[in-house]
């Protein structure tokens, strides 16, 4: 049992306890080939451990499954967020123009909630909930992206 997320992913969102269903990443690179930009075409991990990279503009998708240990870690980190957490901003070194890195968590029966964003307005980092929680989840998803998102993205 991997917490509420696993229950909520059974397709019966109305009856399930609220929990995360998917984490979604979307990135943008500057002046770089999209096929080589990690996360450019989107990367989503469901609470059952399946992941989906893409689709690319050509319609290609890459699907697979993260490991049970990775899912446990992701479940622990993603379960800590709620749609009600307040959005906040953080600025150390501002992001370079054109670079974006967005992480959303989708909850059962509700919209996706952006928990981390690099490269938004003012090029500050915007996050939701506690800074440590948001950056831990972001770092964990980044690891998954580096492991499972194919670069270059496969051609049609």
């Amino acid at each position: 049992m991997l917490g509420q997320g696993a229950v909520a992913d059974n397709g019966n969102a109305g009856a399930a306890a609220p929990g995360w269903q998917r984490v979604l990443v979307q990135t943008a690179c500057e002046a770089m080939h999209d096929d080589h930009c990690l996360g450019r075409y989107g990367f989503a991990v469901r609470s059952d451990g399946s992941y989906l990279a893409g689709p690319s503009p050509a319609g290609r998708r890459v699907e697979g499954r993260i490991s049970p240990d990775e899912l446990k870690r992701l479940d622990r980190l993603a379960s800590g967020f709620s749609a009600a957490a307040a959005p906040q901003e953080f600025q150390s070194a501002p992001a370079l123009p054109g670079i974006k890195d967005q992480l959303d968590v989708e909850f059962a029966g509700g919209p996706a909630v952006r928990v981390y964003e690099l490269g938004g307005p003012g090029r500050k980092i915007r996050y939701r909930g506690a800074w440590a929680d948001a950056t831990r989840l972001h770092a964990e998803v980044r690891k998954l992206l580096e492991r499972y998102y194919p670069t270059p993205f496969p051609p049609p």
């Binding site: 999209d34 670079i99 496969p154």
Partner: protein, 266 residues
């Protein structure tokens, strides 16, 4: 316990649908619902003017940082200077005229000089913050470096083997070049040496550099303070919309740029 090795499968267009999170963030930090995202087509690119400055007649000053530019890469530095001498009075600049506004009529520019910079010496990586410090220091102390004006644009070329990093991003990982401003007063672009497939696109080094340089040049002219000139919330700047679509202009490879008038890259 051994970690399971992931199996990767490629699916066609009609596989399990996935919602792509839009690039622009709304004020409420929420993305559209699945249903809303699926309801309509993605809007065509359209740059809108945000009332900030433009560079009307750009004056490019090139800075080749690192000793490689006076050694093994000296010929390439000369070729890049020749590229600017050509392109700043070319059709590439002419096509930007559609983005002129009453206060800034975009026209031809010129290259106003160049320097090779051996110091400060570079290690394996350099931050954008350090590049800004270098620029400000050279402007204030080096009589060969012009002072900033509303038309001045400094192009900083990095030598092979030096990674540019900033805010958790790095060259060849998240960017192949960029342009930026310092307090809205100093406009500059940074060109890391293209040392990865994502930044060469199969092109020769000179072609990759002129392509990326043309991308950043046109963005600098039309949006010198990023997001305050001509910008599209969903698609970015003029060069982002057409990234890595190239054409030959004279002897040089340049990137296509978005035209609002034509509704296409050209």
């Amino acid at each position: 316990m051994a970690t399971m090795h992931p199996a990767k499968k490629i699916y066609d267009l009609h596989g399990d649908p996935i919602r792509i999170v839009p690039l622009h963030l709304g004020d409420d930090l929420r993305t559209p619902t699945k249903e809303a995202a699926a309801a309509g087509p993605v809007a065509a690119p359209n740059l809108t003017y945000r009332n900030g400055p433009l560079i009307a007649n750009v004056e490019v000053f090139t800075i080749f940082w690192g000793t490689a530019w006076t050694g093994a890469q000296a010929a390439l530095a000369n070729q890049l200077n020749a590229f600017f001498d050509f392109v700043l009075t070319s059709a590439l600049i002419d096509q930007l005229a559609e983005y002129s506004v009453p206060a800034y009529k975009i026209g031809h520019g010129k290259r106003v000089g160049t320097i090779n910079l051996a110091t400060p010496s570079l290690k394996h990586s350099v931050s954008d913050t350090a590049i800004q410090h270098m620029l400000q220091s050279e402007i204030s102390s080096n009589p060969n470096v012009p002072h900033p004006t509303p038309n001045a644009l400094y192009f900083v070329y990095m030598p092979p083997g030096v990674r540019v990093v900033q805010g958790g991003s790095a060259s060849c990982q998240a960017f192949c070049g960029y342009h930026n401003d310092i307090s809205g007063q100093i406009f500059y672009a940074v060109m890391p040496f293209p040392g990865c497939a994502g930044c060469t696109g199969g092109l020769a080094t000179l072609d990759a550099l002129t392509s990326t340089s043309s991308h950043e040049l046109c963005e600098s002219i039309t949006d010198p303070i990023p997001g305050q000139g001509w910008y599209d919330d969903a698609n970015g700047e003029i060069g982002d919309i057409c990234a890595w679509k190239t054409k030959k202009l004279g002897d040089y490879t340049v990137q296509l740029e978005w035209s609002n008038k034509k509704g296409a890259c050209g």
